[in-house]
């Protein structure tokens, strides 16, 4: 058994490419688990970060600093009464959240967390990603239509119009990134997600900096389009709270609603990981070429452990600052325990074989986390666009920009 | 101004005086819209502040309907009053000031005074099917339309 695991760890292809069904299954489970944890963490972090941006504290009651709040929320959602409007189309109403969740999760099949850490390395990875992620609009339209109510319907229509139009700008930006992979001396382009990151490795630059500022503009287009794709502020019209109460999921509650919630956050993570893969060098650590050699390799490989130790230190600091009242004893002990677990994980990450394997995933997640932080920041900062303005931005600004960038990238690539 | 208007309408304007520095005039209901129109166009009372009513159950003409007007250029207010009996109608001033739209609806709602020519005269604050007009003096302070409460709220009484 151990040998089997070891033999796998030394392999350098993804399980999908190796045709190893067992490992592929393990990976799918891991991704599912990791995503669920990430969504829970995002839930807490978003509320906390947003709260601190808005001079308030956010959740503070359930667990120390509200750490257990997402779990409490999840329990609440699961035991809630399952309400289906009498006029709704039961089957479509039932199937819509599942469609949304499945499509968003399926995207992660091609997302490479490391050179071998992906379920499979598809040679049409980018195409697959674009195709599958655009399917989720189907689920949203189904949800809006099946509710048989005005607000969800309008939310769903807004959502579909928005996603369809931003997908074009998004695709143009993606194509220009793909084009960059082929503009090397070998002239071999690729649509494979792993291939794209490897191309960035070979070309010694993240694509966001390539053909400056073309890569940056393409990244910007993608970054805007991905916010619109995931229906987040300032493009959160489909669920514009002040206009449409909650948009397409107004009639949903309890577990079905939590599926939408899960899908929304997973979609955010999915598009962020695509952006990271295409432009921010995927799993590559910063400055792989400028800071080459044994010492800087070592320093960068210590980062994961240091991060966890830092988090542990923060937990211990908060523990020390907890009120000294007996009422808070359980919370204080819990927070200290949480800090201890974090510290332990951090220490394990310093062990040589682990830190070598974990580095790719660490850098990838860090970049995704940064992107997620930006999501929260936008939400705290911007008012919401109006629908016609949103369309204007999509069709009159991003689309011409995307076409321009694409053409220029092609020209520049050929000339250089 | 009053003299000029009096000259035009004669006995239509019954009274025009000042109380505590505030001007008011009492006019016949038949000329009210015409007068308001003239006040707006010729005397520059371009802003209809309020339309309201008073109920004097012991009088023969039970209701006072009052327009409070303001003139931006003259920085002056004036109240125009007219008296009507219960069941009589007043011509609507919506054609003079659109602002009177909801204000007249409220007067109708509260006093049951009907305005002739109002485009959408229905209750505004109370529910459509309510019986009675609460600001009339004969409407008790804890009186309610029990029937409405029972039908629409499904409770015995709202008190």
């Amino acid at each position: 058994m151990l040998d089997y695991i070891k033999s796998y760890l030394s392999s350098d292809v993804t399980p999908g490419a190796a045709g190893n069904l067992f490992w592929a299954f393990v990976y799918i489970l891991l991704i599912f688990l990791g995503l669920s944890v990430a969504v829970i963490a995002m839930n807490w972090l978003e509320r906390k970060i947003l709260a601190h941006m808005q001079v308030r504290l956010g959740p503070m009651r359930v667990g120390p600093h509200g750490l257990l709040q997402p779990i409490a929320d999840a329990i609440k959602l699961l035991i809630k009464e399952d309400i289906m409007p009498a006029e709704a189309d039961p089957f479509v109403f039932w199937v819509a959240p599942i469609v949304v969740v499945i499509t968003t999760f399926t995207v992660f099949i091609v997302v490479p967390f490391g050179p071998t850490h992906a379920v499979t390395d598809m040679n049409i990875g980018v195409l697959f990603m674009l195709g599958v992620s655009s399917l989720s609009v189907l689920g949203i339209v189904m949800a809006g239509w099946a509710s048989n109510s005005h607000y969800p319907l309008m939310g769903a229509l807004r959502s579909s119009a928005q996603m369809v139009s931003y997908e074009i700008a998004m695709a143009l930006a993606v194509v220009s990134a793909v084009l960059m992979t082929s503009l090397n001396r070998e002239g071999t382009g690729t649509l494979s997600m792993i291939g794209i990151v490897q191309a960035q490795q070979v070309q010694q630059t993240w694509f966001v900096f390539k053909f400056f500022p073309l890569g940056l503009i393409a990244f910007f287009i993608f970054a805007v389009a991905m916010i619109a794709e995931t229906n987040r502020a300032p493009f959160d019209l489909p669920e514009a709270e002040s206009e449409l109460t909650a948009g397409f999921h107004t009639e949903y509650s309890g577990f079905r609603w939590s599926l939408f919630f899960l899908a929304e956050y997973s979609a955010m993570i999915a598009v962020s990981s695509i952006a990271v893969t295409l432009w921010l060098g995927g799993w590559l650590r910063p400055f792989p070429h400028w800071l080459r050699g044994e010492p800087s390799d070592l320093v960068f490989s210590l980062f994961p452990g240091l991060t966890f130790l830092f988090l542990a230190a923060m937990a211990f600091y908060s523990t020390a600052r907890m009120p000294k009242h007996p009422y808070f004893r359980v919370q204080t002990i819990g927070l200290a325990g949480f800090g201890a677990v974090l510290a332990l994980v951090g220490l394990i990450l310093f062990v040589r074989p682990v830190r070598d394997r974990i580095q790719d995933i660490y850098w990838f997640s860090t970049k995704v986390a940064f992107s997620m932080y930006m999501y929260i920041w936008y939400r705290g900062t911007f008012p919401r666009y109006r629908f016609d303005q949103l369309m204007k931005v999509g069709w009159k600004v991003l689309l011409p920009m995307g076409i321009g960038v694409l053409i220029l990238t092609a020209f520049v690539g050929v000339l250089l | 101004m009053v003299a000029k208007l009096k000259g035009q309408y004669g006995s239509g304007i019954r009274e025009a005086s000042t109380y505590l520095g505030q001007n008011y005039m009492v006019v016949e209901p038949s000329i009210i819209v015409e007068l308001l129109q003239i006040l707006r166009d010729r005397e520059q009372f371009d802003y209809c502040v309020d339309v309201t009513a008073l109920h004097y159950p012991q009088r023969e003409k039970q209701f006072d309907v009052i327009w409070i007007l303001y003139s931006f250029p003259r920085n002056e207010r004036i109240r125009v009053k007219t008296m009507i009996a219960d069941g009589e109608t007043v011509p609507s001033s919506v054609t003079v000031w659109p602002a009177a739209n909801w204000l007249e609806r409220e007067v109708y709602d509260m006093f049951g005074i009907r305005f002739d020519g109002h485009p959408n005269l229905k209750r505004i604050l109370l529910p459509d099917g309510w019986k009675g007009h609460p600001l009339r003096k004969d409407y008790g302070i804890i009186q309610q339309d029990q029937e409405w409460v029972q039908i629409n709220l499904g409770i015995e009484s709202g008190q």
Partner: protein, 389 residues
């Protein structure tokens, strides 16, 4: 900016003809949507029936009265002094203004005048209240348009005002700060210092709000050219307050017919030109700064002396009637009080600014999008407690 009331008088009078709700609404082009009475953006229990073509608004009809408490009826069964706390419950975010209007109206009817110190205290508290009201407006308006952060900033700063109220009269929201004839409470120890400290505290905060919104591209796009109403339409519809001033009418009751001690202060009336939502936003922001100016002057010059005029224990105004109005944060707040010589008013009519301003909603949103309806409801700054009374 077309004057719709004069060029096409039918537009403002039309209303929706609502038949039976269409069961197969997917087949029809026109959609009738019920916004409210429970809706996150209608500021309480306003119900707006929207007739839509896609997202375009063809017409609206407001259904109000969900918060009707019969304030005017109650007034007829209370003595003059007993009715005083009730007026705070109308525009509950600007309770001090309501109280000021009522007290001054009754004082006029009694032919007494509050002593100078009382009038200065009234000005300070009323202007603080205007600030609080505008802050609440700004927070909720920004929230409606999708910026969630300003809400918390404005509420943080409004809290400081409420603290001053609480220290002065013990209540934070429905203050009942003034009495007929003056003020009941002398200012507490260190009142002037605290107000001055507040002025220093809040000036940079207003800059902060402006920094977040005034030049924010999305904010400008969402508000400029939205809910335009012309000067003539405003006057014809009786719209007052910042909405009227944003359309370019330089009219403020504090200047036009000064009450309390407003004649003694130096301040300006900010006006806009376009009468759109952005101008109304700017006007209100400027008004907040002007309020600070007034408070600053009032605190500097507050005279010593009595705070209560000689008012009989039992208030029995002579037979007569009075209309007195003040510039509340929302517009002209008028009280029409009729006395029959007894201890209870024969009739109290409140001229609510929100109620009259809300009439303009239809003309402002017709032809615009659903999202603009929200923006316009926000920019009208209505309080349903006052609309319904």
């Amino acid at each position: 900016m077309p004057d719709r009331t004069t060029t096409d008088p039918t537009t403002y009078l039309s209303h929706l003809e609502l038949g039976e709700p269409d069961k197969t609404f997917l087949d029809s082009n026109e959609l009738i949507i019920n916004m409210g009475p429970q809706h996150p953006a209608t500021h309480g229990v306003l119900r707006v029936i929207l007739k839509l073509d896609g997202e375009k608004v063809l017409g609206t009809e407001c259904v109000i009265g969900y918060l009707h408490r019969g304030v005017e009826k109650i007034a007829e069964h209370r003595t003059y002094a007993m009715f005083n706390p009730y007026v705070d419950r109308m525009d509950y975010v600007a309770a001090v203004s309501n109280g000021l209007g009522y007290c001054e109206a009754v004082e006029k009817l009694l032919n007494v005048e509050a002593p100078p110190r009382a009038r200065y205290i009234r000005v300070i508290l009323t202007e603080l209240n205007r600030l609080a009201s505008h802050m609440l407006w700004l927070g909720t308006h920004a929230l409606d348009i999708g910026a969630i952060t300003p809400l918390f900033y404005t509420f943080r700063d409004r809290e400081e005002i409420l603290k001053i109220f609480e220290k002065y009269c013990g209540a934070r929201l429905t203050t009942h700060a003034f009495r007929i004839g003056g003020c009941l409470y002398e200012t507490y120890e260190g009142f002037e210092g605290e107000v001055k400290k507040f002025l220093d505290f809040v000036t940079p905060k207003i800059d902060e709000y402006e920094e977040l919104l005034t030049t924010n591209r999305i904010w400008v796009e969402r508000t400029r050219g939205v809910g335009v109403i012309s000067e003539k339409d405003c006057i014809a519809l009786g719209v007052t307050g910042p909405v009227l001033r944003a359309s370019g009418v330089k009219w403020d009751l504090r200047k036009a017919q000064p009450y309390a001690a407003y004649a003694e202060f130096d301040f300006e009336i900010p006006i806009g030109q376009n009468g759109d939502t952005y101008d109304r936003y700017l006007v209100r922001m400027q008004e907040m700064r002007q309020s600070l100016r007034i408070i600053g002057q009032a605190v500097e010059r507050i005279p010593e002396g009595p705070i209560m005029a000689k008012v009989p224990k039992v208030i029995k105004p002579p037979v007569g009637e009075i209309y007195h109005s003040i510039e509340a944060p929302k517009g002209e707040l008028g009280y029409f009080i009729v006395s029959d010589g007894s201890t209870q008013p024969y009739r109290v009519r409140v001229r609510p600014p929100s109620f009259v301003n809300l009439q303009a909603l239809d003309i402002m949103v017709r032809g615009q999008l659903v999202a603009d309806v929200i923006a316009v409801i926000g920019t009208l700054d209505i309080v349903l407690g006052e609309v319904d009374r």
